[in-house]
Amino acid sequence: MKDEATMEVQNLVKHFEIKLGFFKTLITKQAPVVHAVDNISFKIAKGEIFGLVGESGCGKTTTGRALVRLIEPTEGKIFFQGIDLASLSIEREVRKLRRKMQIIFQDPYESLNPRMSIFDIIAEPLRIQKIVEKEEEVHESVAKAMEDLDLIPPEEFMYRFPHELSGGQRQRVAVARAFVLKPEFLVADEPVSMLDASIRSAVLKLLLGLQKRLQTAFLYITHDIAISRHICDRIAVMYLGKIVEKGSTDDVIQKPLHPYTEALIAAVPVPDPTARRIEVVIKGEVPSAINPPPGCRFHTRCPHATEICRKKEPPLLKIEKNRYVACHLHGSSKNTES
């Protein structure tokens, strides 16, 4: 498990250039850039669930998309089972890898083609990858994938269209589509955030059951740190394109080191009217990623910010085994590593 990481990300950077109007291009020297992801690194082992947690705009979705090569990174390397994704130039080679990596999108109302039947939606990856030849085999695989997700009996749902299904059922179809190829790596981008809490856990259970059975490596993207606690083995907390804290889920949640992680945990509402939670001390909102604050990017909202935080950017330091934090408050250890 140690040596062969399913997915390895090294110094990933993604900047989006902003398109200016004609006249603005004449007077502006350099087009403004959105720093969506700024130099992040992590590894995901076989069968491991790695969580990326952060508020909207922190770059977690961009990272997820770069990992399955839906967007090209500006800089940095992504290795999938030791193969550099950027080295694949021909569409055919990329497609071959895509058989092993899949993504589940956030919104089941937008990620399913409304003009395709459920059968065709789940069968499409099989047909594109030409995994099964005969139509009967396609039928069999699709039915099996649907049964795995409790869409029972499959015949009842197969010939319906997405608009005839509820949100929870749609997301199950999206999961079935992702798992029909038995992927070795899967990006789950907030797969349950659009669903009601009562349905959420049912979909998650099915998803995790499949993950365990197939030993799929997972990148689980979420804004809800409480959910990540129940799902992920390790998590990385992102803020404005940077990883600010990384470690095993239990360690990070029980003993957060970065003030931002602390705030994220304090902001989670507790389903217990008698529990008094810690007051949220963080003020304001996430600054713009076009001109991220100098120094530590969190210093504008941090209750502990000092002089050095405004000037020098804290590196991601190893504090203990498997525990990293990027904060000047925890700068005693000096073994920089990612």
């Binding site: 809490a197 809800d224 705030a263 902001a267 509402p269 217990d272």
Partner: protein, 321 residues
């Protein structure tokens, strides 16, 4: 003490080609002054429809079939549209709509929109109204100068605050907030909830908070009504309901929430899907999904009955038999 709002046997159906959708089916509850009531349930259980019925903001295919909504000895259901508009909406009861992102008018400034609400309902000049709009923004923790901003210039959390300011513009007794924080990030969500709690205490407001998120209701409200398929299945003070839920649905709903504190428990889920309100199941509407359902649950509909404690009521055959 005389309750502020009394809803009795309210029934509201939507007329469709396939029949009546029984979105609100025989609902009763009371609210006192300064109380915060949470209305909880899955999507499609009729919680937003209850709010729209109270304010009479219904589409043309909706019919209030039966029941009354009494606010200070007057029945809102029996009022004419003009009376509701002049006497009730915004002045006595206002609403913070779901998705503040889309509820604000994109081509008017925040100030203009608040001023419109004030001028329509009260006899004040535009200048005075604008002055008050500025004060309201300060009240919800925004800068006064934001009155000149258009909605697209503000972040989601700020829009949500602006909506809250607008709902307070005519000093209502009751504010209905429909999923006020759904589209917001957790930190911003906590900030917005904090503002709402502070306002409630400062302005002696009563609040109805509609949400599918029980943890949010646990933090904000002192009473809760759990809805399922157009009916209230459990009602009472917040602490006993969370500590000792009587209805199996309430129990399941509470345990479906991941907690950040305490021991890590397995998330539970409710099997099956919410019923079709065109043809709700006979007997107890929850029986197809209930783990404790017996023969009587399929036949006979349980009534919302008071338990030993005055303030607590539950609609389940399991209780008291």
């Amino acid at each position: 003490m005389e309750p502020l709002l009394k809803v009795e046997n309210l029934k509201m159906y939507y007329e469709t080609i396939r029949g009546y959708v029984k979105a609100v089916d025989d609902i009763s509850f009371e609210m006192n002054k300064k109380e915060a009531l949470g209305l909880a349930g899955e999507s499609g259980c009729g919680k937003t429809s209850v709010a729209l019925t109270i304010l009479r903001l219904l589409p043309s295919n909706a019919k209030i079939v039966d029941g009354s909504v009494t606010l200070a000895d007057e029945d809102i259901v029996k009022m004419s549209e003009k009376e509701v508009r002049e006497k009730i909406r915004w002045k006595r009861i206002s609403m913070i709509f779901q998705g503040a992102m889309n509820a604000l008018h994109p081509t008017y400034t925040i100030g203009d929109q608040i001023v419109e609400a004030i001028v329509k309902h009260e006899d004040v000049s535009k200048g005075e109204a604008m002055e008050r709009a500025g004060e309201l923004l300060e009240l919800v923790g925004m800068k006064r100068s934001r009155v000149k901003r258009y909605p697209h210039e503000l972040s989601g959390g700020m829009k949500q605050r602006a909506m809250t300011a607008m709902a307070l513009s005519c000093n209502p007794d009751l504010v209905i907030a429909d999923e006020p924080t759904t589209a917001l990030d957790v930190i911003v969500q906590a900030q917005v909830l904090k503002v709402m709690k502070e306002l409630k205490d400062r302005l002696d407001l009563s609040i109805i908070l509609i949400s599918h998120d029980l943890s949010m209701i646990a933090e904000t409200c002192n009473k809760v009504a759990i809805m399922y398929a157009g009916k209230i299945v459990e009602y009472g003070d917040i602490v006993p309901i969370f500590k000792e839920p009587l209805h199996p649905y309430t129990e399941k709903l509470i345990s479906a929430f991941p907690s950040i504190l305490g021991p890590k428990t397995e998330l539970s889920s409710i099997r099956g899907f919410p019923p079709d309100l065109l043809q709700p199941p006979p007997g107890c509407r929850f029986h197809p999904r209930c783990p404790h359902a017996t023969e009587i649950c399929q036949r006979e509909e349980p009534l919302l009955e008071k338990t030993g404690n005055e303030e607590r009521a539950v609609a389940c055959h399991l209780y008291g038999r």
